[in-house]
């Protein structure tokens, strides 16, 4: 059941990102809410649910915007899994945890995307992409994750406490 709800929320975030947020760009750059949602879920809920969110989100982006399926699927799933496993035993309400994860994930996403889709085609001007795309997006995402993470954290905690109560009553 929880996975079905996560699946629906994933689709909603995808729609929000692709048809609302991407219309408003600053210097040609938009924040990647989808990546931030996947990361937040992976940090709070652990690697299993993070991996699920990453796979669904990557597949959605591949399905509707890419020449082939596989690139975003791999990158999102990998980032979500790494974030999930490495943040498993950390305190969740520290502000630096999502910030560091956001910066690291944006860098990993863009480097992997560059290597898979640009570098292998023969473009070697890496510094142009670093200045034009990666750095502005890192800043945008770092601001975005504060909103995403600190709205998701109480929601997930509330749902967890409710489900625990429910289990206790039944037992």
């Amino acid at each position: 059941m929880e996975f079905v709800v996560l699946f629906i929320v994933n689709i909603l975030v995808f729609i929000l990102q692709s048809s609302v947020v991407s219309h408003f760009e600053i210097m040609g750059i938009t924040a990647n809410l989808m990546l931030m949602f996947v990361i937040s879920t992976a940090i709070i809920k652990g690697p299993g649910k993070g991996l699920f969110c990453g796979i669904v989100m990557g597949l959605l982006q591949d399905f509707y915007f890419c020449e082939y399926v596989g690139c975003n699927f791999f990158i999102y799933a990998l980032i979500a899994y790494i974030a999930g496993t490495s943040c498993k035993n950390l305190v969740k309400d520290n502000i630096f945890l999502p910030l560091i994860c956001s910066v690291a994930s944006t860098l990993i996403y863009n480097v992997l995307f560059y290597v898979i889709n640009v570098f292998l085609k023969g473009y070697i001007h890496g510094e142009v992409f670093l200045l034009k795309i990666v750095l502005p997006e890192t800043v945008c995402n770092a601001i975005a994750i504060l909103f995403v993470y600190f709205t998701l954290l109480p929601v997930y905690e509330f749902l967890d406490s409710r489900s625990k109560k429910y289990v206790n009553k039944v037992v």
Binding site: M34, Y64, C71
Partner: protein, 286 residues
Amino acid sequence: MKKLLSKKRWIITLLVIISVVLAVFTYNRATGSKLEDTLAFVIVPLQNAGSSISRGIGNITSRFKGTDALSEENRILKDELLSARAEVSRLRMLEEDTRKLEALLQMSDNYPDYEVQGAYIISKDPGNWYKSFTVNKGSSSGIKKDMPVITDQGLVGKVSRVGVNYALVTSIIDDSEAVTSKSLRTGDICYVNGTFSKDDTCIMQYYDDKADFVVGDEIVTSQLSKIYPAGIRIGYITEFGGEGNGTVNSGLISPAVNFKNLSYVLILKNNFEQKPIEETTETESK
């Protein structure tokens, strides 16, 4: 720890294998799979709603523009309208002449009328790398792969994949696109590529050293192009040089279409794609 490490390794290996297999099987497909089409029945209506909301927000914010800027724009547009009217009346006379001459020569119509389908843009690529977008008309409205997409200002791109109720459009400023085109003034051939490194500009490349291009030349699609009809405006040359590599001359083109606030496009439903030779001979022999 060892157990955890091996589990990690397994999951990552599995991810790599699955994504490579998926990529091989789905590269350059013309239509969406069953799964995509099914999901699209849920997603596309919601995207329609979302994009109309963001269009509404855009309209509201543009209302707060200062009156000075608006009156300035008004003045510029009035000037443009005057010159456009003069141009239209001149072209009408030319058209009349051409029709008479064509009748004399008994030539067939060189520029067939296009059947056009209008479509709203419902979503843009979420990432910052590619410049593709989806529109709210698909194969149920008769859209097929490789149909040209235009606006009243010029060429936008082509349809690269079709679902039942949506179509993915790759724009000419996307890196994967290359359009065979020519200068309207001299008819010299050049190739227009999208580029990663500059926002909303295209690179033009030409091999002929004697070709006559000057800054400000209007570039249109040429008759050599496989999928675009000839004579659709692409943009204007802004500068020369740039990312040339010695054998190829290159320059920059600023597209006639403003890709930043694009919300409505026209899809030309005549398919201009030329069939491969084997295919035509096969059908003839049957």
